[in-house]
Amino acid sequence: MKLVTAIVRPDKLDAIRGALESYGVQGLTVSQASGYGRQRGHTEVYRGAEYTVDLLPKARVEVLVSDEWAGDIVDVLVATANTGRAGDGKVWVTAVEEAVRVRTGERGDAAL
């Protein structure tokens, strides 16, 4: 099993959800995140004083998938989240030892 984690632009969330659903993903977890990469932050001006805000709002999407799906899910995420501009985010994959469906106690791929 793999955990696919993507940090993306919050406004891309709906498109990503739609794309993953049509691929066949049954569930995912979304949380609010903030951070910065190469695009850094934005600047606000109050009474002439500049305030640069480095940490920008991002969405974190996490999907738990079987090993054979992981590569495709990454491709779907990257294709959907891409705008070509700095600040599009990152996608990474981590190995997962075990997963359990809380309701039934099913384990492994059956729990996904």
Binding site: E44, V45, Y46, R47, G48, A49, Y51, T52, V53, D54
Partner: protein, 435 residues
């Protein structure tokens, strides 16, 4: 005595001026960070509560109701508690005067955002109103030193201060500077981007309500229909022009006109027209507004250069535009029945001299008195919260409240409707923060 239109007008305008202090709470509250907005608004609210009581007990008597004591202040006991005024119409004017004292002291709080002990502020308010505001109001409006017959006024000439350029704005602006210097900078002043305003719509709401109230502030004491009309038009003209002056300055200097700049420009123009509202022409008021908007827009940056943390720019807006309005009268005051007037109306330097002396005397008096009061509080109980309390946020540590709850954090815990012991909050917030 029958209730006349004049009585009604003064009572209505007094209620309008009273509304300016809650308006100020919004104006200032929006400019602070989210974790100290309640404290900021409470400093205005408690100024209202404390001064409302003090003014009735002895403030009014000291500011002009009582017998003059050497031209310095009125005897606080002559009309203590306003008992001697029962069955007189003087109560109306006394109520009107109270609202000015309230807003003046509340204005100062903008200089000490995020870091003042609420208890220290609650001591500062009555002492400052008693020892600084009431005497200065007496000097200018109550027949004291700066009045036509007063020791300074009879020598330098009587300064024009219709609604409070010296008594309210220069006074509050200087006091704000002194307190900011005593208390010191916020942690991270000039570096921390978290110190930017958290709610600009609050600021604009506050500015709008201040402007509404200011028609009462300037117009409440109008003596005739002609004067009332001039005051109303000037109270429209100067803030409008000052708003334009401020945002055009920003457009040229920073590249964009801002909402905070527009709201600030309105207040700067209102401050500048305050002393001058009954004594300049509408075109004069427009010119005055433009100048005050530009100068205040430039002045608010000085705190970063010189290092005094006047957090919400009481100095840049109230002191600077208060001086602009007070001194401008030396140039653009209209002659009265062909007599006097400012330099531009052929009145010579007499008015400019009188205005300058009044401004300098007010500044010196307020600076010295506020320094003594502020230092006395700071050296005894301390005016400033602990560093940890400042990081946690003074809303939580000084008031055990938070302004905003969106359910994102801190949703787990306990709730006790009727705590068994008093002071239970201390274990959770105040002492925890001080430990």
């Amino acid at each position: 005595m029958d209730l006349t239109a004049g009585h009604v007008w003064m009572m209505v305008t007094a209620a309008m001026v009273l509304l300016m202090t809650p308006a100020l709470a919004f104006f200032y509250g929006g400019m602070t960070r989210a974790k100290s907005v309640l404290n900021m608004m409470m400093m205005s609210f408690v100024a209202l509560g404390i001064t409302g009581v003090v003014w009735i007990l002895w403030g009014h008597s000291m500011a002009g109701g009582g017998d003059s004591i050497g031209g310095l202040f009125g005897n606080p006991f002559t009309q203590f508690g306003m008992e001697a005024m029962l069955d007189t119409e003087d109560l109306i004017g006394a109520g009107f005067g109270a609202t000015f004292a309230i807003i003046t002291v509340a204005l100062i709080s903008g200089a000490i955002a995020d870091r003042a002990k609420f208890g220290a502020w609650s001591i500062f308010v009555p002492v400052w109103v008693t020892l600084v505001y009431a005497p200065l109001a007496f000097w200018v409006w109550g027949g004291g030193l700066l009045s036509a017959d007063g020791a300074i006024g009879s020598w330098a000439g009587e300064a024009i201060d219709f609604a409070g350029g010296t008594v309210v704005h220069i006074n509050a602006g200087v006091a704000a500077l002194v307190l900011a210097l005593i208390i010191g900078q916020r942690k991270g002043f000039g570096r921390d981007p978290g110190q930017r305003p958290h709610n600009i719509p609050f600021v604009m709401l506050g500015a709008a309500l201040l402007w509404f109230g200011w028609f009462g502030f300037n117009g409440g004491a109008a003596g005739s229909a002609e004067e009332a009309g001039l005051i109303w038009v000037n109270t429209l003209a100067a803030p409008s022009a000052a708003m334009l002056g401020w945002v055009v300055t920003e457009r040229i200097r920073d590249g964009r006109p801002t909402s905070l700049g527009a709201a600030s420009g309105v207040v700067a123009g209102l401050v500048a027209i305050t002393p001058a509202c009954a004594n300049v022409s509408p075109i004069g008021a427009i010119g005055l507004g433009i100048v005050s908007g530009i100068l205040s827009a430039l002045a608010v940056g000085l705190k970063y250069k010189w290092g005094y943390d006047d957090s919400l720019d009481v100095v840049g807006v109230h002191l600077v535009s208060g001086l602009v309005g007070t001194l401008a009268l030396g140039f653009i005051a209209l002659p009265v029945e062909g007599e006097g007037g400012g330099l531009f109306y052929g009145g010579g330097f007499a008015q400019l001299g009188a205005q300058t002396v009044a401004a300098v005397v007010s500044m010196a008096f307020t600076a010295v008195m506020t320094l003594i009061i502020g230092l006395a509080i700071h050296k005894s109980i301390g005016f400033r919260v602990t560093e940890e309390s400042e990081s946690t946020g003074v809303d939580l540590t000084e008031h055990a409240e938070t302004a905003y709850e969106f359910g994102g954090l801190g949703t787990s815990g306990t709730f006790v409707p009727h705590p068994a012991t008093s002071g239970h909050l201390k274990t959770h917030t105040k002492e925890g923060a001080n430990a």
